[in-house]
Amino acid sequence: MSIEVQFFASLRESLGKQQVTLGYSDGLDVQAVWQQASDGAAMPDNTLCAINMEYVKTETPVNDGDEVAFFPPVTGG
């Protein structure tokens, strides 16, 4: 019964954490996972969210066992 949360790049640095494991509870969505994992920090406007390696919106429901990731706009290539 857990959710694994990951932060990348500038978000990882500004929050001071790379990975957090949360307990699972019914009715969680991506926004609620952020709130718990970030200790209530405001989510920057341009933050991107993924569940299990796929882009999702902040209102997407989260299931037990999901890997949820938060990161800034990408700058590869």
Binding site: F8, A9, N46, L48, A50, M53, A69, T75, G76, G77
Partner: protein
């Protein structure tokens, strides 16, 4: 149609040839379009000494694999190839290679560009530049010179 993530310097042209000789059928493809992105030593005004490219390993691989598969459905391709660096990168080192092989010129050009545009827009990589003035994450507003 692989997407390959590497943390060491690579020669894009040698990789391309090696892949082509191994996987493409001689005489079937007529058009090969490629793009290589190389690290420059300037961006905006500061001189950049080197760069660290962070990624989200499983998602990056997943994203690029799907991008290759989508491109093969969207365009009339014989094959395509993406190679992308991560980790520490120095000026003049290749960062990314995209290749599209097709019987048709327009399809090869369009697919090669599609691979790059999608990769740039959505593949989870983040550049941190190390300059004389310190470290900085590359943000959208710093990328006008890359357009």
């Amino acid at each position: 149609m692989p997407a390959i993530l590497l943390d060491t310097v690579f020669n894009p042209w040698d990789e391309l040839q090696s892949y082509q000789e191994k996987h493409l059928q001689a005489g079937r493809y007529g058009a090969t379009a490629t793009f290589v992105g190389t690290m420059r030593d300037f961006n905006i005004d500061d001189s950049v000494s080197h760069m660290t490219l962070e990624h989200y390993p499983a998602m990056t691989q997943n994203f690029l694999d799907k991008l290759c598969a989508q491109s093969r459905e969207k365009f009339a391709l014989d094959d395509c190839l993406i190679i992308h660096r991560y980790g520490d990168i120095k000026p003049n080192e290749p960062i990314v290679l995209t290749v599209a092989w097709s019987a048709h010129r327009a399809q090869a050009f369009d697919a090669c560009r599609y691979l790059m545009e999608e990769l740039k827009a959505r593949a989870p990589f983040w550049k941190k530049e190390i300059t004389a003035g310190g470290e900085r994450w590359v943000h959208d507003e710093l990328r006008s010179s890359e357009k």
